[in-house]
Every structure is written in structure tokens, then in C-alpha cells.
């Protein structure tokens, strides 16, 4: 292995600093006891004042609750639909409509959000006119929109996981007389389980984070957390938003740490199982 030269290595260090300084500054100034946010008031800081104000803010808490519900439901929907689409694309070979499905699962990845948002809203309005459903806009329409754009990401994750191992296991089970559904549940599903977990987390994050599409398809009284934050920070920096950001960074990094430890544990267990199986065969 050639070691990277001095130039790329310096660039990497600078780039990582660039990526992390803004997040660190959010965290530091969340403890600053000054409305000016970015001017450190050394005499009265650090303080937990903004965390207190945050937890007393019913609007933010309500929006966070709504966002969590939408994110959890739409992530589940996206995993189901994305898995079906991923299996179709990876395992069914060529069929009529494959190109269309492939296009519809890759286009959302690059589609500008304003276009997706506008088109979904116009769809919901037209549907309501023609069949009277969905009535008005709110949590339901936001959830449907989020399932649609995040299932594309799950499809990519599942498809690439399926492409990573060959079909011989599934074929062997079929040859031994297992029905397709049983093959899927007993063999394919356990194999792609890690992809489903990361796909769910990805879909949850995308939904939790989405502002533009939600703004289009939300109705009165259904403001998600990003919508509330956006209307707040449009007027300027605000210290309780810093506190909120710090809590979210903390939550996410804990979650990722737990997930990576769990995945390492799983792969170690799988390696041990393989060793045992090999030893038993000797």
C-alpha cells in the first residue's frame, strides 16, 4: 500500500476541520449566556438556560413529536416498498418495465426538491378533486411524500446488498423444494437484514430532515420540526436553536456509535459461526 502524499493528507485534515468546525461552533455557543449567540459572554457562561427554554417551548416539542411519527411511519413504508423494488431490480432479470422502474428509483435521488414537492402537492390537490381523498393536507400527505422519495434510497441500498452475494444459496433452497416466499423469508431476508436496518435509518433521517417537500405538502396545523426551525432562523440566529442542534448531534452520534458496535458484533458472530461450520465439516 502506497501512503498518500503530503498534499492529499493535508487536504484531508483541512477538509475534516471544515466539516466539523460549524458543528462544534453550534455546540459551544449553545452554552453561551447571551442573545447575541456568537459573542461569548465569559462572565455568565456556560449556562443551560437555552436548554431550559427549549424544553419549555410547546411549539417545538409538538413539531418534534409530529416529525418523529412521520419519520418512523414513512421509514417503515419506505423499507417495505424499497425492499420489493430492490429485489425486483436485483433478482428478476430483464422484464418489461424494468427500465421504467430503474428510472423511477434513481430519478428521486437527484431531483431538485422544489420540483418533487410541487408535483406531489398538485397530485394531492387533483386527487382530492377527483376522488375526494386525501381530504385536505397534513400528516398523511407528508408521510406519503416522504415514503416516495426515501424508498428510492432504500432501493439502492438493498439492490447493492443483493448484488454483493450470488444467488446460489437461494437457488439451492429452491432446488430443495422450498417455496419462493419461504426462500425469501428464511434466506434472502436474513442476508439483507443489515441493509434493511441502514435503509430504515437512512429513510428516517431523510424524513426527519426534510423541509422543502414538507413545506409544499403540509397543511395548516401540521408543521414539522424543520418547518418550525426554518421560520425561526430565517429571522436570524437564535440561541435555543443551537441547543436543539446540540441535542440532535448528541442523539445521532450516540445512535451511530451503538449501530456500529452492534454491526461489528454481528459480523464477528457470523465469522465465528462460519469457523464452527468449517470445523464441523473437517
Amino acid at each position: 500500500m502506497r501512503s498518500p502524499g503530503i498534499v492529499p493528507r493535508t487536504a484531508l485534515v483541512c477538509g475534516l476541520i471544515f466539516l466539523y468546525v460549524p458543528i462544534l461552533s453550534l455546540i459551544v455557543f449553545s452554552f453561551n449566556n447571551s442573545r447575541l449567540v456568537t459573542v461569548w459572554d465569559a462572565a455568565r457562561s456556560p449556562t443551560l438556560r437555552w436548554y431550559g427554554e427549549l424544553l419549555a417551548n410547546a411549539q417545538i416539542l409538538g413539531a418534534a413529536g409530529l416529525s418523529i411519527q412521520i419519520a418512523a411511519i414513512s421509514a417503515c413504508g419506505a423499507v417495505v416498498l424499497g425492499t420489493l423494488a430492490g429485489v425486483t431490480l436485483a433478482r428478476f432479470g430483464q422484464f418489461r418495465g424494468r427500465t421504467l422502474l430503474l428510472g423511477m428509483t434513481t430519478a428521486p435521488l437527484v431531483m431538485p426538491e422544489v420540483i418533487t414537492g410541487l408535483s406531489l402537492l398538485l397530485l394531492f390537490v387533483a386527487l382530492e378533486q377527483v376522488i375526494g381523498w386525501p381530504r385536505g393536507r397534513g400528516m398523511l400527505t407528508i408521510t406519503l411524500a416522504h415514503v416516495t422519495f426515501s424508498m428510492a434510497y432504500v432501493t439502492v441500498v438493498v439492490q447493492s446488498r443483493l448484488a454483493g452475494f450470488d444467488e446460489s444459496l437461494e437457488e439451492a433452497a429452491m432446488d430443495l423444494g422450498a417455496r419462493p416466499l419461504k426462500v425469501f423469508l428464511r434466506i434472502t431476508l436474513p442476508l439483507i437484514a443489515p441493509a434493511l436496518l441502514s435503509g430504515w435509518l437512512l429513510a428516517f433521517t431523510l424524513s426527519w430532515d426534510d423541509l422543502v417537500i414538507s413545506q409544499f405538502v403540509a397543511g395548516p396545523g401540521s408543521s414539522t420540526l424543520p418547518m418550525v426551525i426554518f421560520s425561526k432562523v430565517r429571522l436570524g440566529v437564535s440561541p435555543d436553536v443551537n441547543a436543539l442542534a446540540t441535542l440532535m448531534v448528541l442523539l445521532v452520534s450516540t445512535g451511530i456509535a451503538v449501530a456500529s458496535v452492534w454491526m461489528r458484533f454481528q459480523s464477528r458472530r457470523r465469522a465465528r459461526d462460519l469457523q464452527l461450520a468449517a470445523a464441523a465439516n473437517v
Partner: protein, 291 residues
């Protein structure tokens, strides 16, 4: 595909979902872009009136006569192009360094690149407001160091938008580049070096040409969403020059002109997405032919 009912359901359900919630909506946008704005709910004229097709081309004519739209479209293309270029210049050496590190370091570094992506996009853009404003962190540090004596205007400039886009989209450039660079055959580079090639020549003659597909993939992932970007220019950008995504949203929410907003969307689609998808197809064909 064999026509077994199980397979048909597996393939049919997601296809139907995307057809209804992704493909058909574009047809509706297309349809409304040909109607007239009305003071009603929904605020546009029906395309079929008295049994006759009544397409109005006035919305498109309007987009090309009022300089606001063309100018903001060109401005968006410029911002996206500059940001994509900056992402390549910053992301390439980073991806290169990661691809040439040891296995353990590589995983940790990749994790560090992806981690910010999992924290809120909106809050990461918001962080730059605090860094760039007149009494923000950057100005305070520069003044403390004595490099400047009065604060620089950084927020609400093109510069701030470039920073915001590069900051938010850098992982999308680094990951495809890394995936490409990591696959390169190191023995090729060693052979060239053994034959006396200068490291820069090795890079220019071997690594760079081999990594062009990675650059193309990363550029697509950065450029297209950047053209339609809404949050970053709203929070960090100028108020005298809007980007096209903001124009679309204002047309819709402020002016309640759904037909013109739809026409802007169709124009963006034609200008951006369609040519790029065609390009990708050609690329894939040539790749398959090369195999």
C-alpha cells in the same frame, strides 16, 4: 420475468406506487403549466373546456419575456457549476487520501465524512449563519488576530452560498470518488513510478483519467440538486438575486400562480434532468460496449 403471481406482486407494488406518486405528478405539472391562472380553488383553468383542448402557451412566453426567470436560471447554473468545481477541487484530494490509507483508518475516515450527513441539513446550514455574520465567529477571530479592522460582509453573498453548498454536498462528491479511486490497481502506479515517472505525471497520466467516471458521478450528485437548491440561498444568499428554486417556490406560495410555477418546474426538468439522464444512458451503453 416469469409471470408467477408472487413475482408480479413483488414487482408490481413498488412500480405502481412510484407510477402514481412520482411519474403521474409530472404529467399533472405539465398539464397545469399549459393552463391559465384563475381566482378559484384550485387556481388554474381546466385544460379541457367545453369539450375542447385549450392549451395556453402564455406561461412559457412569460418566462422568456420577463428577464427575472432567465436571469435567475442562469445565476443558478453558475452557482451550481462553481460549487461543483469547488467540490471536485476539495473532495478529490480528500477521497484520494482516504483511498490510499490503511484499512482501519479508511473505515474511520469514511465514517467521519458521512457522520455530518446524519445531522440535520438545515441546522448545518444554520451553523454557517453564526459563523459568517458581521459579529460572527469568522469575523471575530480575524479581528482578534488583527488581520482585519472592521468586519467583512460574508453573509448574504455569493461566497456564503458557495460555502453552504460545498459544505452540504461535499460527502456526495467524496463517496463516489473514493469508490472509484479505491479500485485502482496500485501496481500500475508503481510500474509508472519505477519507470521514472514523476508522481505528478503518474497522477495526470494514470490516476486522473481512470477516475473520470467517479468525477462524473460525484458532479451529477452535486450539480443537479444544487441548481434547485432552496434552503442554502434562502438562509445564506443574496436577496437581490434569487436562485430558480426560490423563484418557483415564491411563484407558488407568494403569488399563488400555480401555472407559472409549473412552467418553471417543467423548464428546470427539460434543462437539467432530461439531458443528464440521456448522457448517463449513453455512458452506460459505451461502458457495456467496452466490456
Amino acid at each position: 420475468m416469469s409471470g408467477s403471481p408472487g413475482k408480479r406482486i413483488v414487482a408490481g407494488v413498488p412500480s405502481l406506487w412510484l407510477l402514481v406518486l412520482f411519474a403521474i405528478p409530472f404529467l399533472i405539472v405539465l398539464k397545469i403549466s399549459f393552463s391559465e391562472v384563475r381566482l378559484a380553488m384550485p387556481p388554474y383553468s381546466p385544460l379541457l373546456e367545453n369539450g375542447r383542448l385549450q392549451p395556453h402557451l402564455s406561461n412559457y412566453a412569460f418566462l422568456f419575456t420577463d428577464p427575472l426567470y432567465v436571469r435567475s436560471l442562469l445565476y443558478s447554473l453558475k452557482v451550481a457549476a462553481v460549487s461543483t468545481l469547488l467540490c471536485i477541487l476539495i473532495g478529490y484530494p480528500m477521497a484520494y487520501a482516504i483511498a490510499r490509507s490503511g484499512a482501519t483508518a479508511r473505515n474511520a475516515l469514511l465514517m467521519m465524512i458521512v457522520l455530518p450527513f446524519w445531522t440535520s441539513f438545515l441546522l448545518r446550514v444554520y451553523a454557517w449563519m453564526g459563523l459568517l455574520k458581521n459579529d460572527g465567529v469568522v469575523n471575530n477571530v480575524l479581528m482578534y488576530l488583527g488581520l482585519i479592522h472592521r468586519p467583512l460582509v460574508l453573509l448574504n453573498t455569493d461566497f456564503a452560498v458557495y460555502i453552504g453548498i460545498v459544505y452540504s454536498y461535499l460527502p456526495f462528491m467524496i463517496l463516489p470518488l473514493y469508490a472509484n479511486l479505491e479500485k485502482h490497481d496500485v501496481t500500475l502506479l508503481e510500474a509508472a513510478a519505477d519507470l521514472g515517472a514523476h508522481p505528478f505525471a503518474v497522477f495526470r497520466r494514470i490516476t486522473l483519467p481512470l477516475s473520470l467516471p467517479g468525477i462524473a458521478a460525484g458532479s451529477l450528485l452535486v450539480f443537479i440538486p444544487a441548481v434547485g437548491e432552496y434552503i442554502i440561498p434562502s438562509l445564506l444568499g443574496r436577496s437581490d438575486q434569487l436562485m430558480i428554486g426560490r423563484v418557483l417556490s415564491d411563484e407558488f406560495f407568494e403569488n399563488r400562480d400555480w401555472p407559472v410555477a409549473s412552467a418553471v418546474a417543467i423548464l428546470m426538468l427539460l434543462l437539467l434532468v432530461v439531458p443528464i439522464m440521456l448522457l448517463q444512458r449513453v455512458e452506460r451503453r459505451t461502458l457495456e460496449a467496452a466490456k
